[in-house]
Each structure stands twice: as C-alpha cells, then as structure tokens.
Symmetry: C2
C-alpha cells in the first residue's frame, strides 16, 4: 500500500489555514475574495512545481493535471477552497490538500499510473457570498443556468455580482476547459464529515455511499394580533403557541421513524414580534434528510397529516424544495472500501447529510466520496477540526483509491 506523508500534509493544512485566518482558529475565505485568490495562487504554484499543467474554465474552476503514461481519460480529485464566514480549516480545503498530497506522493515516489490525474478546485461551493451553494459544479452538470449564476448578487454589496468577482479574479478561463465527461474516468472527493458520527463511533474513515435525499418545508401559522394586557386567554389566537405545537408534533411523529433520519426547524420569524402583542403570524422552516426514499416518503406523510388548525390558528405547509437521494458509483465505492480494508483502518459506510460538489458531478461521471472524522462534529465554525492522523488516513485512502481507479478503469 502506498502512503502519503504526515508532515507534508500537516504543513499544507497549516499553510492554507493562513489564507483568511480570522485569528480565532478559523478562516473567512469567501469565494474569489482576495483571501481565496491567495489560496488559489499557492495551490497553482505548488502544483506547477509538481509538473502539473493548469487550466481554468469559464466558471474559474481550476484543473491541475499531471500526465499519465497512456492516452486515457483523466482521473479527478478535488474539492473547494472557499469557506463560509468564520468557517474552519478543513471543510473543502482538506479535499484539495489531500488530492495535492496524493499527487505529490505519486510524483515524488514515482508511482506508475496510466491515466492523467487532475486535482480540481471548484469555485463557490459554499454560496456564502454569492448564492447558491455548489454553484460551479451545478453549472457544469446542468443544475443551474450559467447566466443566472453570473447575475447572482453579493449578499453584502448591492450591485456587485458574481460575474464581477469572476472577471476580477484572473481565473476566468474558457468554457472548453470544463470537465468533459468523455475525457474523465471518474472523481473522488475527500471531505471532512461535518457531523459527529465517525468521531462518536471512533471510526477512522467514512465510506460514503451517496448523499441523503431531503425535503424542505415552510410552515406558516396565522392567528390574530391583540394587546398582551387586555385580551383574555380564551379569545386568543396565538400563532407562536401554534408554532410550538407544530414543533411538538414534528418531534412526536418524526422521532418514530428511522433513527438515522434528521430534521431541523432552524429558522423562525414572528410578526409583529413585539413583547406586548400576541403574534399573528409565525413562519418556521423544516429541513429533513435520509438516505432511504421510503423514509423520506414517511416524512412527507407526517407533514401532510399535520393538522390544518392548531390552537385556533391556521397552519399552512409549503414545500420549498427537495432533492432525491444521490447514489455514488458502486465500483468507486468498492475501490474506497478495498483501500480502507487493505490499509487496516476502521470505517463506517454512510450517506452524506450535507451537500457536496460530488453530488452534482455524480450525474455526469462516476463519482464517490471519502469522509474524514470531524472532532465533535463541529462544522461551518472556527472549532472545526480533524486530527492530522485522521487527515493522513483519509489521504492514504484517497491515494490508493486513485491508484485502483487508474488500474481498473
């Protein structure tokens, strides 16, 4: 089994943590910001030194390719370099750095390989400044219209658009450089788990079989606004009380379903939201995910059965959006599993609850993912952390998976 180098990988993590360093253990590295451009420059410089040929496409995705011994489609690995505001040093960047480390190992150790191997950096995965998330993989795979994406307005600067950031970045290349399914054998993306499961169960690697299906709903409870001091309880129509009952109902009914089901009521707004007035309208979001479409059907059934009236308020439910479960390529999942087993690591087969570029790429080319444990599951925050040892193990699995793909595809 081939192995990557702990010191080399640790140095990469340390160096890249400087780009956008918040001073509190994390980074703010919004897509195509100065901090993100500095990280891209460092990436390109290092890959060039390894003999890679670098091109960018019209969405500023970067492809750094080392040649193979035969004229074959490329094998891809990569992730994103952008972060959310006050994010951590692992989400996304770890996938880029471990692909860099795998390639560095292949080059340094002169490991023979037939296919060209490409390290890819996808632009704007987080969607933290320009919505939506997974913007560029979405454009490549036909999920989003490029024109709409170019006109995505910055959340913080009115009149500043994604196309402006793209133009200014110097990384805007040609459309013909886009990942071409006919010239690409497959993709493996390594990522921090962003959840506590591997850490809690003391597993070293996550073998990712797919991405959970999900539904998103918005509930609106409508009652009547009246004076807090003068309106007797028996006449009240309190939309916030109705909302509490909706939350109770969801827990009571969804908790009965599969234990791997997750659901979140993350966003609430009350109107008029004044302490002396009974709320007349409350909105609440629901996000629910599971790998099994049958469980997701049960979730939708529970939502459909939510009473239309609670505490004398009306309850309206509206599906905001949904995605079906994404199943990764079985052959590639098998290469990951074989690599993990040969390396002797503990592992868990799992579905990703979070969205990743890989879930869009999966529509176009054989794709899979590898998860590295996140300590205590912290994600999208400065506390985000994966141990150097586990990062190395992930990189080793990635390296051997790439080599198995090289051999078998």
């Amino acid at each position: 089994m081939y192995k990557c180098d702990l010191d080399r990988l640790s140095e990469k993590i340390k160096t890249f943590s400087k780009f956008g360093d918040t001073g509190n253990g994390g980074i703010t590295r919004l897509s195509l910001s100065d901090e993100a451009l500095a990280a891209r420059e460092e990436f390109c410089e290092r890959l060039k030194k390894l003999g890679a040929n670098i091109v960018t496409d019209d969405m500023a995705n970067i492809y750094a390719t080392i040649p193979g011994s035969e004229n074959l489609p490329a094998i891809l690995s990569g992730s994103h370099l952008d972060s959310v505001r006050q994010g951590g040093n692992y989400d996304g960047v770890l996938g880029v750095l471990s692909a860099m480390e795998a390639v560095e190992t292949i080059v340094t150790d002169k490991i023979p390989h037939r296919h060209p191997i490409t390290v890819a950096v996808w632009t704007n995965e987080e969607g933290a400044r320009f919505e939506p998330a997974m913007m560029s993989s979405g454009v490549l795979c036909g999920k989003f219209k490029k024109e709409d994406m170019l006109n995505s307005e910055a959340k913080d600067i009115p009149g500043y658009y994604f196309k402006d950031a793209l133009q200014k970045s110097g990384y805007k290349g040609s459309e013909e450089n886009r990942m071409n399914p006919e010239k690409t054998a497959g993709l493996v993306e390594l990522h921090a788990e962003q959840g506590p499961v591997l850490d809690a169960e003391n597993k070293e690697v996550g073998i990712v079989e797919g991405v959970c299906g999900m539904v998103n709903y918005e509930f609106t409870m409508r009652g009547q606004a009246d004076h807090a001091g003068t309106f007797p309880m028996k006449y009240r129509k309190d939309a916030l009380y109705a909302c509490a009952k909706v939350i109770d109902y969801l827990h009571e009914n969804l908790d009965k379903l599969d234990e791997e089901l997750v659901y979140t009521t993350g966003k609430i707004s009350a109107h008029p939201n004044i302490h002396t007035i009974i709320p007349d309208e409350v909105k609440l979001t629901l996000d629910s995910r599971h790998k099994d479409p049958k469980v997701m059907e049960q979730v939708v059934e529970v939502i459909k059965n939510l009473p239309e009236s609670l505490e004398k308020c009306t309850v309206e439910k509206k599906e905001a959006w949904a995605r079906d479960t994404v199943y990764f390529n079985k052959k590639l999942v098998g290469f990951v599993e074989d690599s993990v087993k040969e390396l002797g690591y503990t592992y868990k087969k799992m579905y990703s609850g979070a969205g990743h570029d890989a879930q869009y790429m999966c529509d176009a080319i054989p794709t899979t993912m590898i998860f590295v444990p996140s300590v205590e599951g912290h994600s999208h925050c400065e506390l985000e952390y994966s141990t150097p040892e586990n990062c190395l193990k992930g990189a080793n699995v990635l390296l051997n998976t790439l080599l198995k793909m090289d051999e078998e595809l």
Copy 2:
C-alpha cells in the same frame, strides 16, 4: 342627569380622525409630529372658543381650563392625542374628545360648577417614536428623569431627539405650569378598553378599579449549533425545541391559575436563524398581567419552577421589569359607579390590562378611569372601533362623574 350630545361628539371623532389619516380607516399620529400638532391646534382653538385658558408645561402637556365659581383646586380630565403607527381613531383621543364634549356641555348648558375644570392632553403616551410610553405623565409623577426623556432618540431618525421635537413643536411651556397636586382635586381619564371583554359581555361601560400588576421576563435557551444534515438527532441540543417546551410549560402551568390572568410570549429570536443549522440560542419574552398580587406571585412561582434544562439545552430566566397593581381612588371609582347606575347603563367593574397615563397620575392625585367598549377588542390597529352610542355613554358617565367630583371634593 346631564347628557352630552351625540352629533357633537361624533363630529369631534370624525374631525380628529383626519389628523394623520392613513386612508385605511386609521391614523398615524406620532407624538409631536406635524399631524399631532395639527390635532393640538384644533384642540386649542375649540377650547379657546369655550372660554378656556390654555397653558402648556415644559413637557408640552396642554391644560385647557374653564373657571369655576369658587377658588378651588381644578378637576382634571383628558388623555393623549398621539397614536402608534397605523393606529386607530379611539385610543387616547377619545379621552380628550369626551372631556372636550363634557366641558362643552357644561359651558353650553351653563351647568353650575364650583371647581375650575381642566381638559389635559398628555404628551407622548404611546412612546411609538420616542420611548418610553407614558413619558410625560411619568416625568410629572417622578417615574422618569426629565433629562433622560429629553435625550430619547427617535427610532426612525438617528440623532433626532425628543428635545428637538419638543423645541420644534411650539408647545413647550414652563415647568411651573405642570399639574400641581396641591391645586388639583382629581383626574378622570376616559379610554377605549383596548380589549374585547366589554364587547363580548355586552356591557356599555367599564368601571375601572385599577391597573393590573405585571411581570416581564426574558428566557434564553442555549444549545449547540450544528449542521442540519449531518448531526444525528440523539446528539442534538436544539434551542428552538427547548423554546417550544418552555411555551408548553407556561401554558400548562399558567392556565391552571386564575382565568383573568393573561400572559403573552410575543417576541422570539433564534440564532443563527438559518434553515440548515440547528439553533444554538433562542430568546423569548413573557408578559403576564393580573389585578391580584397573589396571582402574580403564583406566576412568578411558576416561572421560578421552570426547569433549568430542557431537551439538553440550558434555560435562563431574567426578570426584565415588573409593576405592582395600581388601585384607583375608591371615592372616584364610586362616583363613576353612581353615575353609571343613575344613567341606567350596563357595566362591568374591571382592571385595566394596558398601561395608561392615569396609572402614573394616580400616585400624585386622586385618579380613576372609565372604559368604553372596543368592538372585538381591536386596538393599536386601524380596525380599532367604538360605536358612537357607546362613546356618548362614556362621555355621559364622564360628565356626571366630573360634576359629582365638583360637588363632593
């Protein structure tokens, strides 16, 4: 029994509804705004025609006084002319208009009276633009420091202060014109009920015995922010779920107490309030009111017994503020009751759930209030309505109460 005139009172209501008319059946007449100043001008003009002497004090409170036949302390009646944004045509102004109508009746019908009778307009009762509510009665009665009030900043214009509005109004008078307890025999304030009780119980007049005591609390539930898609339910600390349990707890326990108790969870905020993140902090307000201090003690006991931890989140409770029950002057309440009975109106003895200038004045001089039914209890909104007939009945009770005070005090 003396009686006011329905047409005359209706004309007053109609005319004053024009000052700040929103075009939707209500008014926006923020304190000392151009609309409020127009209403004040109309008030002064009409009172002057009735032979009143008009002075203003340093908080721009207006005192329009018709002389009595003897050198005695003045009898006061009045309320406020300002409204909330998109408020109604009755809250406050009805108390001013019925006092005007009572004085007009006394003057026109040449009803003999010994005391001077003053119609008062208190400045900034609503606190809708410059906080706090009941600002000027609060200053007069020592509840608020004048200096602090002068420096109250407009909610909508940074750098614009109450003192600026006061200066610009032209109604700023001398401190020595303030209501002087030694020269004032008592105060009766007529007001719309702002609640549905009289309307629902089909009563024509509310005999107000006092103002309910109240407590205000802020609850803070703290959990842990994690990714909606990756964090298993069993590890979650969802502060919004804990908040739903707090709302349930309050209903479960407070509903057992007296049926006249009211409590409201009107304001909620969740952090980070993003639909894909489990809320780590939720704040919720509680406002609870009852006339009986013993019931309020039970409310505080229930709050004290609220578990410190719910759904693995901490629950913190903080008293924001409280007021004791205010008891109106028994003799004056008796005059109101006698008047109501002599006039043959149906009535209900009650405590005000809302705050009024009268509750502060009560500390300084004998004070009471009269309530007129609010149709369906609508208040602080454009739907606010009291029938002309009930307004007249209220004015008749006010007139006769003033005359009883004139006779007995």
